[in-house]
């Protein structure tokens, strides 16, 4: 077999697609001919390069663009893709992480300042220990409630005093304005005398205004 005929069969020889006799003849020629042998090796290398050529992936956005231009419908997204897009990706940003850390610190500080301090030992975490803690907590809350009620009571009493004494004081002021000077002196003396006797004072305080 000559070089020209060998060249014509090289491609099929490479793919082992020739009949057995032709395969043998080509192999014999390649053994004896350096030029054809070099050409065969180069062809092998070129085909290998083609087989190892990188495959490109289609961008999902490009795929969506095609779907929108043809059917007018966007790409179907799997649950995992939607989860990543709407939940995970917004969370995994430096800005969100910094905000989360600050918020956690703030809440921890607020709880630390405002919440009542509890000293809990590990031994208190038994059921009876937990019950005792609960009982202590309830009693504490009840005590605080009673204190608050007493405060309200004293405020109520003060309010009633003011309410009861205000009309008398007002009446006195009006009398002072209306009465002449001499009459004012006499009425002042009369008031002073009356104020000296404690019984009359208390009865005046207890009496309702007319």
């Amino acid at each position: 077999m000559d070089c020209l005929r060998t060249e014509q069969k090289l491609s099929e020889y490479l793919e082992s697609g020739l009949p057995a006799e032709d395969m043998h003849q080509v192999a014999e020629h390649l053994e004896g001919c350096k030029q054809c042998s070099a050409l065969f090796h180069e062809m092998q290398s070129a085909v290998n390069l083609c087989h190892n050529y990188p495959t490109l992936e289609m961008d999902p956005d490009f795929l969506e663009k095609i779907l929108l231009r043809t059917s007018g419908r966007p790409r179907t997204r799997s649950f995992r893709e939607r989860f990543n897009q709407y939940f995970l990706r917004p969370l995994l940003t430096p800005r969100f992480a910094a905000a989360a850390v600050l918020a956690t610190l703030f809440i921890a500080l607020m709880v630390n300042f405002m919440a009542p301090r509890l000293s809990i030992a590990l031994s208190d975490l038994s059921p009876s220990g937990l019950f005792q803690l609960l009982d202590m907590g309830v009693q504490q809350i009840y005590g605080e409630g009673l204190k608050a009620y007493e405060k309200v009571d004293s405020w109520q009493a003060k309010f009633n005093d003011i309410k009861n004494s205000a009309p008398n004081k007002l009446r006195y002021m009006i009398e002072q304005i209306e009465a002449p000077v001499e009459g004012r002196k006499k009425s002042q003396e009369q008031i002073q005398e009356k104020e000296k006797s404690p019984k009359e004072k208390s009865s005046r305080l207890l009496s309702w205004p007319a």
């Binding site: 062809m43 087989h51 779907l67 231009r69």
Partner: protein, 192 residues
């Protein structure tokens, strides 16, 4: 696969958008890679892919299963548009060179390690230059056979030529490519 494609096409014709999405997902990547191998530019490949799939969508009614497989039909549409694009490029050649693989979006390419990526990129560029120097007929034969992995009978049906002609073109294409690469290696001093 054949019956699966037929069912999808029938559903598409009935207005099922989900079926169309499945077809695009199945063939889109192949068409995209085919377009890239012809054009060597990502933006041109995207435009071409879009054009091809729009044409397929518009002409889906004209597909007949008796004429051949859906795969070949879609590749035929792709090929016609690629040839049109090639003719247009010849009339209005772009001054910019082909796009390097390194400049493409990393998520576009499945590459194991950076070193391997560099080697593959170098090899791919080497091959691209060699393919560009081939005539359109031979380049097409190499792309369909060695890059797309099509069988002889599929190529014969797609190109509408006898199988013998397909084999002859592949042989000549490979020989040409081998000689070109040998010369390039000698010029660059790259070992085999």
């Amino acid at each position: 696969m054949l019956s699966g494609d037929l069912k999808l096409v029938e559903r598409c014709l009935q207005g099922d958008d989900a079926a169309w999405e499945m077809l695009v997902s199945s063939y889109g990547k192949r068409i995209y890679n085919l377009s890239y191998r012809y054009t060597n530019r990502k933006d041109d490949a995207e435009d071409l892919t879009q054009e091809i799939l729009i044409r397929v969508y518009q002409n889906l009614k004209s597909y007949r299963s008796e004429a051949g497989s859906f795969q070949n039909w879609i590749l035929r549409v792709a090929r016609n548009l690629v040839i049109d694009h090639y003719r247009q490029m010849r009339r209005n050649p772009q001054t910019g060179g082909s796009e390097e693989l390194e400049t493409m979006n990393i998520k576009d390419v499945k590459i194991p390690t950076p070193q391997r990526a560099a080697e593959q990129s170098e090899a791919a560029r080497f091959l691209q230059n060699g393919l560009q120097a081939l005539s359109p007929e031979l380049k097409e034969a190499i792309i369909l056979r060695d890059l797309e992995g099509m069988a002889y009978n599929e190529m014969s049906e797609l190109l509408n030529v006898p199988e013998g002609t397909v084999k002859s073109r592949i042989n000549r294409g490979r020989l040409e490519l081998a000689k070109l690469l040998t010369k390039r290696r000698a010029q660059l001093g790259v070992p085999v």
